[in-house]
């Protein structure tokens, strides 16, 4: 549930507690826009709360992890996923907003894929949720294209120099998802157990799935 948080935050009035804490400029502008659109009947509070709840609590990388795990255990599904990702992902009931045109790119021993959005922050919401702050930063967006190997190293991912790195630039039309390689030693694991190994960063390409200890 989205608990309507007090956006004025914690604030202590050392003197006379005369008035409420004045929110920041953007907070006041968001309130102005919200008031305007509510008054015009263009938005409603219930839908706003539902949207926030959905992306804060219900849709996230766990969805993508299930897609990856299924592709690891079911070769026919993997073929469908690489051939038409949007339809294959829809088979698991993940669809809609910002997932209308999905492309899945597969990591191999020769190629490692990384996703970025150089223009803003296009990201496959139905399978990964809302992008993390670093994905939206200029630093990630510009440097991933320029020096991907170095950026990956900063994420703790040291790739063999022989491995080619491909950078995929997401747009408002096409969203990418990385299909990481299945970790070694997982032959006896089922789909559910495998999904636990799939991290968000491994589906962006800035990390790998968890290893079996």
């Amino acid at each position: 549930m989205n608990k309507k948080k007090d956006i004025s935050g914690d604030h202590h009035h050392p003197h006379d507690q005369a008035h409420s804490h004045l929110p920041s400029d953007p907070e006041l502008r968001v309130k102005a826009v919200e008031t305007l659109l509510l008054n015009k009947g263009l938005i409603d509070s219930k839908t706003l709360d539902e949207l926030i709840d959905t992306y804060e609590n219900r849709i996230g990388p766990k969805n993508g992890a299930k897609v990856v795990a299924k592709a690891w255990v079911d070769l026919e599904y993997k073929k469908r996923l690489l051939n038409d990702a949007t339809s294959a992902i829809r088979e698991l009931s993940y669809q809609g907003r910002q997932g209308e045109n999905m492309v899945v790119v597969e990591n191999t021993t020769e190629t490692h894929n990384v996703i970025v959005c150089t223009l803003c922050s296009c990201y496959p919401w139905p399978v990964l949720g809302i992008p993390p702050t670093w994905y939206k930063s200029d630093e990630y967006r510009s440097r991933t294209v320029r020096e991907p190997r170095k950026v990956l190293l900063e994420f703790g991912l040291s790739l063999d120099p022989k491995v080619q790195i491909k950078v995929w630039d997401s747009t408002a039309e096409i969203r990418y998802l990385v299909l990481p390689m299945r970790p070694k030693g997982t032959k006896n694991m089922d789909e559910r157990e495998l999904a636990e190994l799939v991290t968000r960063n491994s589906m962006i390409g800035t990390g790998l799935p968890k290893e079996i200890k």
Partner: protein, 119 residues
Amino acid sequence: MKSYYNLPFTNKTQDQIVFQNPWHSQLFAITVQMSEKGNFSWKEFVDVFEKSLKKQRSLSKNLDGSNDYFSCWLNALEEILIIKKVSNKDTLMLLKEDWTQAYLSTPHGKPVNIKNRSV
């Protein structure tokens, strides 16, 4: 594998938080709902948003992806509302002023509200 999780874009504490501030989530939800109700397409919004990001980048240092990123998002939403003639600059400014005055005139601890303004 060595972890470098203290670099600018890999702050582990912030990494798992979906929205860093309540106004980010509110802004996100307002934009999505407006788009889904057909007031503008997502592509139209993204086009305006990209311009807003570019403009901000030319004025200041690199955006860190948090408050500054959502400030650009807010600029873009206000702009698309004006482009689509849903509102205009003056109305948005007056509403912001109403909220400012309401906060300044409401005693601490009491609910802050604004009087109905014709929008």
